[in-house]
Symmetry: C2
């Protein structure tokens, strides 16, 4: 088998909201380009769906018959060449390009199966946003790196990150996205073709670490945005929070990973995704509710909530407000905090992320989110 | 008289919404620092105000008696040491630091009076957002540069720009601001002290041109944001527009002015002000209404409005929606377009600003704002 196949065979691992939305794009491209195998397997964790007439059906059968993911992306037509496959090994068999878009807690069990079945010259693109913390080595780990480790040393993994709310992508509203990968020139171009579409504008960069740090940490900053909204502050304060958040994201990236470039923060995966998330996302929404509840409960008195009380509150809000979706920002806030703590005094150089963590989990009053913004000086001194 | 006075004497030229808001900050600092003369003169264009009991009073008398600008910033206490002065020459007499915050169309007549009365070693800080177009030389001119030209060759002028909605500053909500000036180390520090306050965090940079370009051009991008909102698109598209807008602002700055630094776009005057303006400002608001009207009127047919019809529509919307405030983005959009035209083919390298101008004034359909975003590639290629 040649190192670079004549035609790429793409498989999508995951079929939730974002997985199904990206399948509309990937399917469209695989149908139109010669260099891509037309059929796109999409691994679907099988579920039994109760239909309107009371009968039941497998989700994969519905997707393959109706070309619609009625559970996670109802109302959107999937391309005919996207095939739902309930068996993971079969789904990725001989694939040369894997698209990872499944909740990251499931990955540990799935990766050995994927490694065994995919083509030996396979590469990957990670769409999962988050960051892992390696307790043994006391350091943060990129999801793409975690994938590469599990897949074998030869496996190269990039990521696709950006201001890409799944529903809006599925409805065909124009957006930009950032493909970060370093597969070599020809392979980078080919991979870009898998994702770039007339209304889904993909820009290629090389900085995988920067893109993933941005994709993960924006959810932490969005918690801060929710706190500011809950306090009833206006646009000035929120814009300041977003700006300081961007500066701290860049600093975090530089501190823990090599090859992080400053230009990455001006890409869709940087400033654009941060903006969307701070104005519209689920992390912002839950954090606003968290803030309002704390303000209501404390009414100006200094009642400090315990770590356990904070955790319970987040769990309840997630259930009440997110309709089964997961809150990522709180988990990432913890991982960021642990990462910084592991380096000693560094945590004080990240006043905003530190303050957000302490408000979220250590009962610090909501109003102190302001303190996390106030102390940052000019970027002339600390961004570059 | 020594070149650098022992104590700075600050005068504020202008007393509208923003002028009065900054007077609360400047007044506070001049009262607390030894290095600043306590009294701050604020030039007020005199008006007669009809009081609740039917009697009338001068606006300056009300400000000096009640310490409140009842017309332009009602409900906010001005510091006692801010003195309203209706005579421009008297207001700026012997001032060593002038704060310019009056609508820029009035400046041409005012500057000769200011030049004659201020101290010879005087310097200035411009708070006026906008850009001039020099028809003779066919090039854009910074407001700070226009001020320096009128004040005399020795006169140095910086600017204060940032995500600073006047009302929110006046109410004491935390925000950041960018002071751009290059007066020399000691004088830069002193000038920072005039503006920096516990809830108004000033970061000093040297790049005056970049800060002013950002302050002016964000209003053009905000028109685009209003168009996107009027079309009913979601956060992805708006984030893409803001990002591409930031890239074009940076390109414009580099094309026309020397000394523009890339770091400037990550300051409050750059990305933060752009965000606030694209989510909350008056330019966005009028542009959204403009979009909705055009969509309603054309209902899918290609009815092209003339330049005159477009102009009339903006004038009407400005009256209906802005309650006496001025729409700056449309004027700046024209000046930007003329600037780019003057350099020949360059206009096509700014697809977003070109598209916004053509929608605003040449009857191009609103939906084509998307085209202005689509064509931009990665910043790796065009930002740095």
């Amino acid at each position: 088998m040649p190192f670079l196949s004549d035609r790429d065979k793409v498989a999508i691992i995951g079929s939730g909201n974002w997985g199904s939305a990206i399948a509309t794009i990937v399917g469209y491209n695989c149908a139109r380009y010669e260099s891509l195998e037309t059929t796109v397997n999409m691994f679907v964790h099988e579920e039994t769906i109760t239909l309107e007439d009371g009968t039941t059906s497998h989700l994969t059968d519905i997707i393959n018959d109706e070309h619609e993911n009625v559970k996670y992306l109802p109302g959107i037509a999937l391309p005919d060449n996207v095939i739902a496959v309930p068996d993971l090994a079969m789904a990725v068999r001989d694939a040369t390009l894997l698209v990872f878009v499944t909740p990251h807690q499931f990955m540990t069990n799935m990766l050995p199966i994927v490694a065994e079945s995919a083509a030996p010259n396979c590469r990957g693109v990670n769409l999962i946003k988050g960051i892992d913390f390696d307790h043994e080595r006391q350091q943060p780990v990129l999801i793409s790196r975690m994938i590469s480790r599990a897949m074998g040393t030869q496996f190269e993994c990039g990521s696709l990150m950006g201001a890409n709310v799944a529903w809006e992508v599925a409805k065909g509203e124009l957006c930009e996205s950032t493909l970060a990968c370093d597969f070599g020139h020809l392979s980078n171009e080919r991979t870009t073709k898998v994702f770039d579409a007339p209304l889904f504008r993909v820009q290629h960069i090389h900085d995988v670490a920067g893109a993933e740090v941005a994709g993960a940490l924006k959810n932490v900053i969005a918690l801060g945005a929710g706190f500011v909204d809950g306090l009833g502050h206006g646009g000035n304060t929120k814009a300041a929070l977003i700006r300081v958040g961007l500066v701290e994201m860049a600093k975090f990236g530089r501190l823990f990973f090599s090859g992080v470039r400053n230009t990455t923060w001006i890409e869709s995966c940087g400033v654009a995704d941060l903006i969307t998330t701070c104005y519209g996302g689920r992390n912002r929404k839950c954090a606003e509710a968290f803030a309002r509840e704390q303000l209501e409960r404390c009414k100006g008195y200094a009642i400090k909530e315990t770590h356990e009380e904070c955790k319970q509150r987040w769990t309840r809000l997630e259930k009440e407000l997110l309709n089964g979706q997961k809150l990522q920002g709180t988990l990432t806030a913890k991982e960021v905090y642990m990462s910084l703590k592991s380096r000693g005094e560094n945590v004080n150089q990240f006043p905003l992320m530190k303050t957000i963590y302490e408000i979220a989990f250590e009962g610090r009053p909501i109003s102190q989110v302001i303190e996390g913004i106030r102390v940052t000086g000019s970027i002339e001194n600390n961004f570059y």
